[in-house]
């Protein structure tokens, strides 16, 4: 832990909260760019390990920000990061629900939604691209990534099973 101040953590995630349309996976490239490349909070390998941990554990993907907070400022950092990441978006959702229900039948509502989803699709794929680039340094690793993606799409294999299998394969030391 290199002791980032809690206010620094809070400010970053309060701002990130309102741009995380589509959830935490969507802002993984942005977090990597800011926290690893610009601010140097952790190495790229450490970042990817945290992402991997958060994917292996139960719960919403947004908990990756709790892990980042934990990494740079311990348990209080984890709490501050998680609350900062969830509070603005949750307040917005709370208020927006009332507003949105007034336009249940409006045609523009479906139009806005369809437009935003197209952007989100590309952003999630970008997350997959960045994670693959950072995690995979051997051909076997690329193979594992491709196989996990393929099985996940084609067979409804439980993600935990894929992660456990890949972890055991990793034990060989060739990934």
């Amino acid at each position: 832990m290199n002791g980032r101040s809690l206010s620094e953590i809070a400010i970053y995630f309060l701002a990130l909260s309102l741009v995380a349309i589509g959830g935490a996976n969507v802002v993984i490239p942005e977090m990597h760019h800011q926290l690893v490349e610009l601010r140097g909070w952790m190495s790229s390998t450490e970042f990817v390990s945290l992402v991997s941990l958060s994917q292996a554990a139960p719960g919403p993907n947004v908990l990756i920000v709790g892990l980042i907070g934990w990494k740079v400022a311990g348990i209080s950092g984890a709490l501050v990061a998680t609350i900062a990441m969830c509070l603005p978006s949750s307040l917005l959702v709370f208020g927006f629900t009332h507003f949105w229900n007034r336009f249940k039948e409006a045609p523009w509502r479906a139009v806005v939604q369809a437009g935003l989803v197209s952007v989100t699709v590309g952003l999630v794929l970008a997350s997959g691209y960045v994670l693959t680039r950072e995690a995979d340094h051997t051909w076997l690793a690329y193979g594992v990534t491709a196989l996990a993606a393929f099985l996940s799409v084609k067979t409804r294999t439980h993600p935990l099973l894929l992660l456990a299998g890949a972890g055991l394969l990793g034990l060989t030391g060739y990934i």
Partner: protein
């Protein structure tokens, strides 16, 4: 490590199957509103078992088991959660809580959903901090990191496959992938440029 992995896995699949064989009603009848305690408990257990993504567990619990939402209301809530910032399921917990118990309901559903995963993750992270330098642990993490990258690719692929096929939607998705992924432009720039363009294109091609 192998033994620990195995027991962890057995415990996890146990939770999973326990969740899967609950009695399920598919008639779509809605039950009366829930109590505050039931609201918290439902989201708490959802958090505990939701390895590999909350969404399937949320739908099972809210629509099929508790019947607090119809399937249409669930889709509606998710779509709304999609276009707003924040994770879909967290947003859904805020909306559902608010609908039955106001601000307190939102707080109960949200904290129920987050409590167990937060504690589990902190324990996992401490374990990783203590043993992260052990080569065997590092090797396992390398393996799971490769697989979890694949899982995110799969989510993206599934979203792409569900999207209506047209030059404009595929083009916008490709540009946002290029901007945020390959070119590493800031997210706000990509959203600020592409979101208005994409909504405009969707309006032009509306039925």
């Amino acid at each position: 490590m192998k033994a620990q992995d195995k027991s962890f896995f057995i415990a996890a699949t146990g939770c999973y199957s326990a969740c899967m064989d609950t009695s399920i009603d598919t008639t779509g009848n809605k039950q009366p509103p829930m109590t505050k305690g039931a609201l918290f408990r439902c989201f708490f257990w959802m958090g505990v078992v939701s390895f590999g993504g909350v969404l399937p567990f949320a739908r099972r619990a809210l629509v099929e088991k508790e019947r607090w939402l119809t399937a249409d209301e669930f889709n509606e809530g998710l779509s709304l959660g999609q276009i707003l910032p924040g994770p879909n399921v967290v947003n859904l917990s805020i909306m559902l809580g608010a609908r039955f118990h106001g601000p307190l309901g939102s707080l109960l559903a949200f904290s129920g959903l987050m409590a167990a995963p937060f504690v589990i993750l902190m324990l996992l992270a401490s374990f990783y901090g203590a043993y992260g330098q052990v080569p065997a642990v590092q090797h396992i993490i390398n393996g799971t990191a490769a697989a979890s990258a694949g899982l995110v690719v799969a989510v993206g692929y599934n979203m792409l496959a569900r999207q209506a096929k047209s030059w404009s939607t595929t083009g916008v998705s490709a540009l946002s992938f290029l901007g945020c992924g390959v070119l590493a432009y800031p997210l706000l720039l990509v959203l600020g440029v592409l979101a208005p363009v994409s909504v405009f294109l969707a309006w032009r091609t509306r039925k």
